[in-house]
Amino acid sequence: MTNSRRFRDTHRADPFYCDDMVYWKTTWRQNMSRTAVCSFVLMLLFGIADSSQSQDIPLISGGAGFLTQTNGGNTTYIPTIAPVLEFPISNRVLIESKANLLESVFPRPNRGYDTSHYVALAYLQADLQVTSHTTITGGYFYTPFNTFIERLSPFWINNFTDGPLISSIGIGSPSGSALGGMVRGNAFQNRTISITYDAYFSAKTANEQFSSKRLLGDRVSFFFPKLGLEAGTSFNRILQGKRSNNAGAHLWWTPPNSRFRFRSEYAHAAHAQGYWVEFASQLTDSGDTAGPLERLEPVFRFQQTLRNARDSTDGLPVANTQRADFGLNYRLKHELRINTSYSRRFSSTGNTNIWQTGVVYRFLFPAWRSK
């Protein structure tokens, strides 16, 4: 038996040939990596072969938009696109990814325009249905803290062009995502109540595309379908630097057989806290068949942040702030929407007017043609 054969032959070689153990372990890891990559590719191929004949064709979705914001007299133009890829491997495994690409254009008097661009991965995750009520997610996923980041942050869903002031509390990175694992599912359900949960851990990384804090957290939501009421709490602990806790709560109300929507959130970080409440009323949900007036959607949001100490890491305003947002959105045909809003911001650092508009297009189509 030669050395070269010995390492590849059997696992029993490990305890007997300690001098070569490092080499063997390296080879073993490389083999495992190759096996994992090959398995993944095979799973993809089988997934493609299986899905091309069913309803599980991978899809490309997302939104494209042209947004403008005038804040205190300074205008910014933001052309943006956010593609989403949904790739089912089998009926139990789904790969999901979303990216954000945007260009910010700042007009300068007599100096043309300044520009800056931003390209980032919002999430790249694998979801595995382990039981009928439980999903395990691994990868880079939206931090399930409160509701805004995970449910409303896509600009083709959000009623306003920007997010609430407190949306930076409790998330794993500026993009809202965390790198790690999560267990989520439905804990209990009957006709009157549905209880869902999310529990997650995130690792600390400084990678440009996968930046993340070390976090441990959970979210529990109670939904009462007959009332259209949802209440939930979120909690996470930052396990790095000056360790601190974040806590949050949300309350949503969508009365049955009504197009009125009430959404609200409260979040508390180490040195700041805040809340927002939003009221929206759609005239119809009948999409392309709606009349001209029925396409209007008035929206109102009020938000407030309170600070008890300086902290440049939580992303909230440096001084106590109140802000009222008045929006009027209009849904055109073919998944187009126009968002407009006026906001007045009150703060000890100065009161400002904020005007925002946006033309948003939402797309959804198969990644390829089915047979």
Partner: protein, 101 residues
């Protein structure tokens, strides 16, 4: 901020809500479907009703339904919603049945 501005806005909200209720129409199905086929099978119809309920209670809570999508991606859409909305397998199947009666 002037109280009249706020009052005016509240009035616009209230009026729009009243208008919305007055002009309420049956919701349009998010995916193309064959209504005749749906009516022939009781099981599918029940599944469709359950699926519509699941859709209204879970998906439509956050976003408007797309005006339509090809049946070839209905399973992927349902799979995505299962993860995002923490749906059970039963709800997932009902949603799938709603998309493809």
């Amino acid at each position: 901020m002037r109280p009249s501005v706020i009052l005016g806005y509240v009035l616009v909200l209230a009026t729009s809500q009243l208008l919305g209720q007055a002009t309420q129409k049956p919701p349009v199905h998010p995916a193309p479907q064959d209504a005749a086929h749906a009516q022939t099978a009781d099981k599918s119809q029940n599944g469709g009703e359950d699926g519509q309920r699941v859709f209204q209670q879970n998906c439509a809570r956050c976003h408007n339904a797309p005006s339509g999508f090809p049946p070839s991606i209905s399973g992927t859409v349902a799979h995505h919603m299962r993860v995002r909305a923490n749906l059970s397998e039963k709800e997932y199947k009902a949603l799938l049945s709603f998309f493809n009666p």
